[in-house]
Assembly symmetry: C2
Homo-oligomer: 205 residues x 2
DNA sequence: GTCTATAACCAGATAGAC
DNA sequence: GTCTATCTGGTTATAGAC
């Protein structure tokens, strides 16, 4: 049972992991820009210089934190993109499936998604010196904007899919703040039901 | 017809308004922390020092931007708080009403809410030297956390209200990016219907 | 009201000893 | 791997002329 989002016991964890652990907390609470590397180092119990042995820059530290989800976490939106190719009425079941994939990602990487939600501008700015991130993020963003503005898709559908996306994120992250690492029982099912309601899909028998 | 969210024609607007106009765009696009006052001044066509004639600090500039919604924009959540006082099953109609109030606020102050959404940590940090903001924000935050974790309220209700809140925000802000100032026809009604669906409230006859 | 000039500071980042 | 010491640069903010 490998922990993906965090290291094991703080005592036995490597310095690199402990740095990432301190960073994700501070970045999420105070924001990336308002957190200095000195603060991170202090919490870990090392000096700033030590951080630079493990990470080339502050931005690389941030990148390492979201990397754990990157590529995987986008699969949900990738699917949406596929749907968007077909002009006309949406395949609601496919949209539901895509959102459930995303939901599961969010639930199993809650801390990372919370970090992302509260540091969007910082994460977008990562691309400035990291061309890979640049491409991937920009591409996704363009697809989404294009979808939202696509006149060929009925407006209510676009609104409802945006709303469903927001519902999933807020429902998964908002209701688990300050809770432990385990997903509350029933949360996933309830949110799937919510998405069903939004998309006007009735329960499977 | 007084514009609340923005000044009139850029040519006739006062310098103060033009500064706020430039700031809200830059802060939203790049983030508050990644935007220097030099950039803002440059876009307006004045020098940094001029900004300090109109605003005491960078933080005060940010505060002035969200002030236009402050107090008003929270009424939706204030109502939620009222509901939370009563332990037990929710008054769904009241929740709907509260969310509609919030929705209307978001729709008529879209740019401001977009700014807030993308600069939450910066806005929270405003309280560090502004005790009024501190109190108001912290109070609201506590109420919300308390509500979300309130064991006396059925878990599904809490999940659905969080989801509805996210749906409103994402639906109102996400679907209007890059659009003009006017709210797209039908957006409000559709989102109200979405909230109804989430809360399992049928249409009024 | 807006400018030029400058103060004061603190961040991110590097060099090199251990 | 981690430290001490330092560099470099940009940022907020102020003083005072116009």
């Amino acid at each position: 049972m490998t922990e993906i989002d965090e290291a094991g016991h703080p005592d036995t964890a490597s310095t690199r992991d402990r740095i990432m652990e301190a960073a994700i907390d501070l970045f999420t609470e105070q924001g990336f820009d308002k957190t200095s590397l000195r603060e991170v180092a202090e919490r870990v119990g090392v000096t700033k210089a030590a951080l630079y042995y493990h990470f080339r820059s502050k931005e690389e530290l941030l990148a390492s934190l979201i990397e754990r989800v990157h590529g995987i976490g986008n699969h949900g939106l990738d699917l949406l993109q596929a749907l968007h190719g077909q002009d006309g009425p949406l395949d609601r079941e496919a949209v539901l499936a895509a959102l459930v994939v995303l939901l599961d990602q969010v639930l199993s990487h809650r801390r990372t998604f919370a970090l992302m939600e509260r540091n969007r501008t910082a994460i977008e700015a990562l691309g400035d010196h990291d061309p890979e991130h640049q491409k991937e993020h920009q591409h996704l963003e363009e697809q989404w904007v294009e979808f939202v503005g696509n006149e060929h898709i009925p407006f209510p559908d676009r609104v409802r899919i945006s709303a469903a996306l927001g519902a999933v994120m807020a429902g998964a992250i908002g209701t688990t703040r300050g809770m432990g690492r385990e997903t509350p029982t029933g949360l996933r099912d309830e949110l799937v039901a919510v998405v069903r309601d939004i998309l006007h899909l009735s329960e499977p028998e």
